[in-house]
Symmetry: C2
């Protein structure tokens, strides 16, 4: 059996997990993989910080030069994170002729193109299963498992932190700030949770998935992105009454004219749709292919060992020589556009709307009139009594309408004297595959 030497660069949480698998399941892993993986270096600028795994002293180094100069090292795992130092490390590793495995979604989403190009020039591969949906082999499914399909839609829960927060809000009626604190207390959310709760992390993953699924060169800022910070527990409850569960979804759709829309936003998913039942920190992604139909992939989207599982799968794929074949033959981050990226304005969705209105005659008529004049048709109306004597929440579910029309209508409705504050607008994603 062949032995392949591997270096880990970035000895943090995921790096420690990868080291653990390589060091502790050596023989069993070799038997499963058909190749023996030898951890030759663990490289980090800080080797003093305590880790949860004991790595033999002779593997530790703070010199990337030493790692890259070692001709025996075939695979470098970039597990630093961020888009600056990590970029330099990957670039230098590629130039040194090493294959790269990375779990760095921000790097790939924001600066992936030139690195992919360089790897192709160098005849080596970049693999990134760990960058999207952690322990779920989703990249493998989209890239290889569904290769026979024209993929027309992806829709998924790709941020466990947000899903944990929304699950608490849905199941216990917890307000957002409290649910966020709970997520922080058990280590699901960072002290600064912005990257997660703003939807930006989901957008990073959507850029990567969208490029693979639709073969279109997506710039990060082409993804429409709305986070969960503004979610009011009342809307979570009203949605539940209407048969919907709130989720932060990352959605990519191919339209009939060959355009692609890409968006991250809170969405009401009807009970009955498999995505509605994905609770806590789990991730799940629905993919619609023209031959396979809807398939869904569910599991832990983050965390030390799930992400390490994905990284090691890529290392095996690379060590067996398969990654090189895949990477050489298939332009996964194509630079020439097969599809144009469409703005959110062009998207059609059903919507949940909540208006806090003064309880007086004619208000519903005024709102309905504005919606109607924007070609937005009402599916149902729910008016709850309020403890607030003056204002009542008026909930309107609409049929499918164009986002541009909806925004125009909402701006106009906001101007009505009887409407107290900014209307709440939550899109409904009501078919499998995000349609």
């Amino acid at each position: 059996m062949r032995t392949v030497n591997v270096a880990i660069v970035g000895f943090g949480t995921v790096g420690s997990g990868v080291a653990r698998i390589l060091l502790e399941s050596g023989d069993a892993l070799a038997a499963r993989a058909g190749v023996r993986l030898r951890l030759k270096y663990v490289c980090d600028t800080d080797l003093q910080r305590p880790r949860d795994i004991a790595v033999p002293q002779e593997l530790l180094t703070d010199s990337l030069d030493r790692v890259l100069a070692d001709g025996e090292v075939e695979i470098v795992c970039e597990l630093i994170g961020g888009t600056t130092v990590a970029y330099d490390v990957v670039e230098r590793a590629l130039r040194a002729g090493k294959h790269v495995v990375t779990a760095n979604k921000a790097l790939l989403a924001e600066r992936g193109m030139p690195l992919m190009k360089l790897a192709r020039e160098q005849g080596v591969a970049i693999s990134f299963e760990g960058a999207v949906a952690g322990g779920i082999p989703l990249i493998l499914a989209v890239r290889d498992g569904l290769v026979a399909n024209r993929i027309t839609a992806i829709a998924g829960i790709v941020n466990g932190t947000c899903n944990y927060i929304l699950t608490r809000m849905h199941e216990e009626g917890t307000p957002y700030a409290e649910a966020l604190s709970a997520a922080q207390a058990i280590g699901y959310a960072e002290a600064d949770p912005t990257l997660d709760v703003s939807g930006r992390d989901s957008a990073h993953k959507l850029v990567i998935l969208g490029r693979l699924a639709f073969a279109v060169p997506i710039a990060f800022d082409e993804v429409y992105c709305e986070g969960i910070e503004g979610i009011d527990p009342r809307d979570v409850r009203f949605g539940d009454e209407l048969g919907y569960i709130i989720k932060l979804l990352a959605i990519g759709q191919l339209d009939s004219s060959g355009g692609v829309n890409l968006r991250v936003h809170p969405a009401f998913v009807p009970k009955g749709n498999p995505l509605a039942y994905v609770a806590d920190a789990y991730n799940a992604i629905m993919v619609h292919g023209d031959a396979a139909g809807d398939t869904l992939y569910y599991g832990r989207g983050a965390g030390q060992m799930p992400t390490a599982s994905a990284v090691v799968a890529d290392v095996v794929d690379t060590a067996l020589g398969r990654a090189t074949l895949t990477f050489a033959e298939r332009d996964m981050f194509a630079e020439d556009a097969a599809h144009a990226v469409r703005p959110i304005d062009d998207v059609r969705t059903r919507s949940y709307l909540r208006f806090d209105v003064i309880d007086e005659p004619g208000v519903l008529a005024a709102i309905a009139g504005i919606l109607g004049s924007h070609a937005i048709s009402i599916a149902s109306v729910l008016q709850h009594e309020s403890t607030d004597a003056e204002h009542v929440p008026l909930i309107i579910m609409t049929h499918e309408a164009l986002e541009r029309d909806m925004q125009d209508a909402l701006r106009q409705i906001e101007q009505l004297d009887a409407v107290r504050c900014r209307p709440v607008h939550i899109r409904v994603v009501d078919q499998e595959g995000g349609r």
Copy 2:
């Protein structure tokens, strides 16, 4: 871009689907795959029967000899089905140095070992994504995506026909025979549904999955197999009241002493477990790995285009040369046992029991006494009033107990004068990953 010649042997439903993809999505498929697939032959003994796709006359042949003698053909897709003619076709194709792609679960489960061995000797690959769970890239996930993991459990719904029938029984209270007729009416069940409803088809798939997941040489008759024919709608309803949904599960588990148990049987899955929400003809499989944790794969487990999607994915994998690398390095159908297969008697599960008893004092005490003397502890009791004056259904949920003890106890309880007929015993599968 390289062109690889492919032959389809068996021009039935799946064969037509594969032909459709290869003929109709040629350029787009080549762009995605990185290799051009050329359909060179479609071979069948009956070329007159009408098909739902028009294949150019010059591709059609009834001579397997001609296909195998053509040195340009690199890949043979065996889509005949069954274990006799198909065996000969695969054997001859391998001897002729062709790679084989098959969707034939019965063939692999019952006669797979010698074919795998022959393929290894010939230096070619056998791929079989389409044999398990149709359009879901499950083999890819278990074999490659989770390669870093020691897989400790798989539990899944792998027969869409049974799941459709059980969904009708659960959602509408339909009796078994009526639900089966409904499945036959829409083409989900065969005129002779035995292979599906007996659990045998699920067992075929479990043999294949179990071999991959646990690297153990499983003989088909080592899988415990119980079908859905005996399911009474009353039990479906009582289970629902207790918080469970009935599913036919295929389960493989590694125990702490290194043994594997493999079983197909109806099971009560608690609401809250993702498998409980898999409805209609969909399949879903939960896999537990020591690093990734629980992952689940959901989609269409059968049907023309989903299965064709899987077959074409294998053809691409083979055409790119990846299948050969995987097959050469990894003994996927290992002949030497890494684990012993344990009989069902050694399995521990929670159970749902229903006894139809004469409504008289002391009956519950007698039953509870027998259970207790077999170390079976009662979790809850549910007694419903009956319209039948003489008999009432007595439902007992037990804590985890050994199957052997349960069978002994049930035989003893059956002898009681107050117990009318054979007790109903449905195992509860209550944790993710089938534990």
